[in-house]
């Protein structure tokens, strides 16, 4: 062992100690920061807007965000695999559009129309997969390309973005949006089912484990014998088919298809995924986190709405709240001792 240092006259180096529990507190604050902010907002809105905690309003929030949840789940899958999908708007549009065409122009039953819509979404995903896996274009650029192509296709065939109405759609198809199962709105049931499916797929199945491995460290997944290309193809196609369901629900509710309307879900779903990732100990995209992210966005938007704020101000506030909460969640990330020993 060592002897004591020779003299104590020298000035000691800067020493700041953050004790164990203090660090842990900061750690869990950063990890659960979003959940805390989330509940703070729930309390705040409950106090400031009487209607907020009204059961019907809460159901409204869930119903209003079911479509976003489905899109965000698909985005979670893609981000978990290490990519991103900027073309989910296109898959949303194609899903609803082709379902309407199937019913209106080809007199298909509602179930067949649903299938056609999903396949249309899958086709968008197939293009993404081909670009990413075959041509090795980065997911960001590949899906951006798909987005541009898909947008143009819609404009061409809808004479510059005209709506495609179908008032006579069957009640069964319409009930995908407006119906209820055992008293629960169908939209919520569908979103819940997709959520459960994604949870099992991504968090409980072998395939989810492999997809996470691909996203976290692709070369490792590869030399471990995982068929990386195969999984990426699956991820892009499955995600696009999933968001097509969002589009089908949207058209069922509106009894019409509005071109390029899916785009508005892109940024919200990305935000929800990263909010969710901020809550994971390894900052990994995850299904439960995405659910919290979607609810957070929904609650903030709904609460600000109920408080009767200026429409123009609302977007800015939403942005500030989102950035603030994310900053809280991520500030401590870099301070954490990532490597304890080498």
């Amino acid at each position: 062992m060592t002897s004591t240092p020779p003299s104590s006259a020298d000035t000691p180096t800067a020493v700041t100690t953050r004790s164990g529990w203090g660090r842990r507190l900061v750690d869990s604050l950063s990890r659960y920061g979003f959940v805390i902010v989330f509940f703070a907002f729930v309390v705040f809105f409950a106090v400031r807007a009487d209607a907020f905690l009204n059961p019907s309003n809460l159901v409204n929030i869930l119903e209003g965000n079911a479509v976003l949840l489905i899109a965000a789940l698909a985005m979670t899958l893609v981000v978990a695999s290490g990519g991103i999908d900027l073309s989910i708007g296109i898959a949303i549009d194609f899903g609803g559009w082709f379902a309407i065409i199937a019913m209106r122009d080809y007199n298909l039953t509602w179930a067949s129309a649903l299938l056609v819509g999903l396949l249309a979404g899958a086709a968008v995903g197939t293009l993404n997969a081909a670009l990413v896996v075959r041509l090795k274009i980065s997911p960001f650029l590949a899906t951006l390309g798909t987005f541009f192509i898909g947008s143009s296709v819609q404009q061409i065939y809808t004479s510059g973005g005209g709506q495609v109405p179908f008032r006579e759609m069957s009640e069964s198809f319409r009930s995908l949006s407006t119906g209820a199962v055992l008293g629960i709105p169908t939209e919520i049931v569908l979103a819940g089912t997709v959520g459960l499916l994604y949870f099992v797929l991504l968090e409980r199945s072998v395939h989810g484990k492999r997809i996470h491995a691909i996203g976290l460290q692709r070369s490792v997944a590869s030399v471990s014998g995982i068929r990386v290309s195969g999984y990426l193809v699956f991820v892009f196609i499955f995600a696009s088919a999933t968001v097509a369901l969002s589009g089908i629900i949207l058209t069922a509710g509106l009894r019409q298809f509005t071109p390029l309307s899916g785009f508005s879900y892109l940024l919200d779903s990305i935000a929800a995924v990263f909010i969710g990732a901020s809550m994971h100990p390894q900052r990994r995209p995850n299904v439960a986190g995405t659910l919290v992210g979607v609810l957070f966005l929904g609650v903030v938007s709904n609460g600000l709405n109920l408080m009767g704020l200026d429409f123009n101000l609302r977007d800015a506030l939403e942005g500030i709240i989102l950035v603030g909460a994310l900053a809280l969640a991520f500030t401590n990330r870099n301070n954490r001792a990532a490597e304890v020993s080498i």
């Binding site: 060592t2 240092p5 020779p6 020298d10 099992v200 490792v220 080498i342």
Partner: protein
């Protein structure tokens, strides 16, 4: 033993006294001392987790010490941050090479310290200076315009060193495992450079697992164990008793390691585990043929650029091959993707553990099970209890520390991470193990355990192709050793009939195969 006795005379370039640092759950440093005299090359050794890296990171201003003091060049350092340490002339050659892939050699060398002329940055001047420095001080010919991404790992290392030293202000240079990526010949080039720097009066702190290197290059060495310094040894003065590598090991490990390499009984089997015939990739590999018998450990060595890396990549399915055949278990294997290679019965332990070996942000159990997930699942549903049990069993068997299969792999030390990578394949039915530098950056204790593991694999009938830069390791472990030079296997020798000198000479082209 204490550093203070050496302070007279030359004075200290660096003094770190009673430095402590605690991470959540880990006491990384416990009143550790480290002192480097002016103009000396000072070694720092210790097993993984002994606190070497932590004390280096404290000096670098990456971590802040909980307690202790630091003097650089005789002056106490009040606040340690990267900028102030740099100002005092302390330069770090980190183990990880952080260079921008798309920058040229010259740009990389002068990154953040660009030379300016009349018209902005003086590109030509920088290129000339970078090339001159690399040639004269480091003894390597590199085109200043070459892109970093096109360089070999060893060349990148040299660029990294050039970058730290080109401004001529360096007083204390800290090398963290500088030779981990270098081939034997290049190690000598580096040592020549270090010697030149020593002549120029620079002080150096040399952190390495390679005790032979420490013994060769360092004047003194400080040994760390369990977060503190357990001794300083003088390696230069001819004092009694003479300090050798075994003495360093004893102090480092706290016990004797009698035989680093396990005794192996090689029983010759007829079956060939791996047979490669006339492998050609049209570039680096020109008709490589080799066989690895079942139960056999075959070594493969070759300097950087010899085609060794390309051969391994081809076996992994990472490299397109133009002609030739690979047989695994006497059945043809398609080597066009790692997934195929694995399914045909190969187990791949890559060289770059942190990038290719482990998913660092996944748990140990996940990493162990990654190649064999279907065995802990039913119809795709992951049986998490079984997966975690297998992780635990594997950690127990491999003696991975700290225990706990739910720990994030990033937190393990290098040696333990490597055990986890090996653990992944022990669970599989692989018949051929392709190990690429399996003990790089692994301390002596863990290394002997990994060797034992490899011996066990061979004993169980697997064929092992062990690629390594360390001839001593190949001599200790292998039945046969292959030497690859310029894309051809030039020698296939029985390990017992050769020695270190011959191997090195063969690999560097200094001798003909006998």
């Amino acid at each position: 033993m204490k550093a203070t006795s050496l302070l007279e005379g030359a004075g200290s370039a660096l003094e770190m006294e009673t430095v402590s640092k605690t991470f959540p759950g880990v006491r990384a440093l416990d009143r550790a001392n480290l002192s480097v005299s002016r103009g000396e090359v000072h070694g720092l050794v210790g097993e993984n987790g002994a606190g070497k890296s932590t004390i280096i990171k404290i000096l670098a201003g990456v971590y802040r010490a909980d307690a202790g003091k630091v003097n650089v060049d005789g002056a106490p350092l009040e606040k340690i941050d990267p900028a102030s340490v740099h100002r005092l002339g302390v330069r770090f050659i980190h183990q990880e090479i952080s260079l921008v892939p798309h920058f040229s050699v010259a740009e990389s060398v002068f990154l953040g310290q660009e030379q300016t002329g009349k018209f902005g940055t003086a590109k030509r001047l920088m290129r000339q200076r970078a090339e001159a420095f690399l040639t004269e001080t480091l003894g390597v010919e590199l085109d200043g315009r070459a892109l970093v991404r096109d360089l070999s790992v060893a060349e990148r290392k040299l660029v990294q060193i050039a970058r730290a030293l080109i401004d001529g202000q360096a007083k204390l240079v800290v090398f963290d495992e500088p030779t981990a990526v270098l081939a034997a010949a290049e190690v000598q080039t580096l040592f020549a450079a270090i010697d030149a720097l020593r002549q120029a009066g620079k002080s150096m702190l040399y952190v390495s697992h390679y005790l032979n290197e420490i013994h060769q290059i360092c004047d003194r060495v400080t040994v760390f164990r369990n977060g503190t310094d357990v001794g300083v040894m003088n390696l230069r003065q001819s004092q009694e008793p003479q300090v050798g590598v075994p003495e360093i090991i004893r102090l480092m490990v706290g016990r004797d390691i009698d035989d680093l390499y396990p005794q192996r009984q090689h029983t010759k089997r007829k079956q060939k585990a791996l047979e490669v015939t006339d492998l050609d990739d049209g570039q680096r590999l020109r008709g490589v043929s080799l066989t690895v018998g079942a139960g056999e450990v075959v070594g493969l060595t070759g300097i950087i650029g010899s085609g060794r890396a390309e051969l391994v990549d081809s076996l992994y399915g990472l490299r397109k091959i133009r002609s030739g055949q690979i047989l695994v278990n006497e059945e043809p294997a398609k080597a066009n993707s790692p997934a195929r290679a694995v399914r045909s019965g190969l187990a791949l332990v890559p060289r770059d553990r942190r990038n290719d070996g482990l998913v660092l942000d996944m748990t140990v159990a996940d990493n162990v099970n990654l190649a064999t997930l279907e065995e802990v699942s039913t119809l795709g549903w992951l049986n998490r209890a079984a997966a975690s049990r297998r992780g635990d069993e594997s950690m127990e068997r491999l003696d991975v520390r700290p225990r706990g299969s739910q720990a994030v792999s990033r937190l393990l030390s290098g040696g333990n991470q490597q055990k986890v990578v090996l653990g992944r394949w022990l669970a599989s039915q692989a018949r051929v193990y392709v190990l690429d530098d399996p003990t790089v950056g692994v301390d002596v204790g863990a290394r002997s355990e990994i060797y034992r593991l490899i011996a066990d694999l061979a004993q169980a009938g697997a064929g092992v192709l062990m690629c390594s830069n360390d001839p001593a390791e190949l001599l200790g472990m292998c039945d046969r050793i292959l030497v690859i030079v310029r894309g051809r296997i030039i020698a296939d020798i029985v390990a017992a009939e050769t020695d270190l000198e011959q191997l090195t000479a063969l690999a560097t082209g200094g001798a003909e195969a006998t």
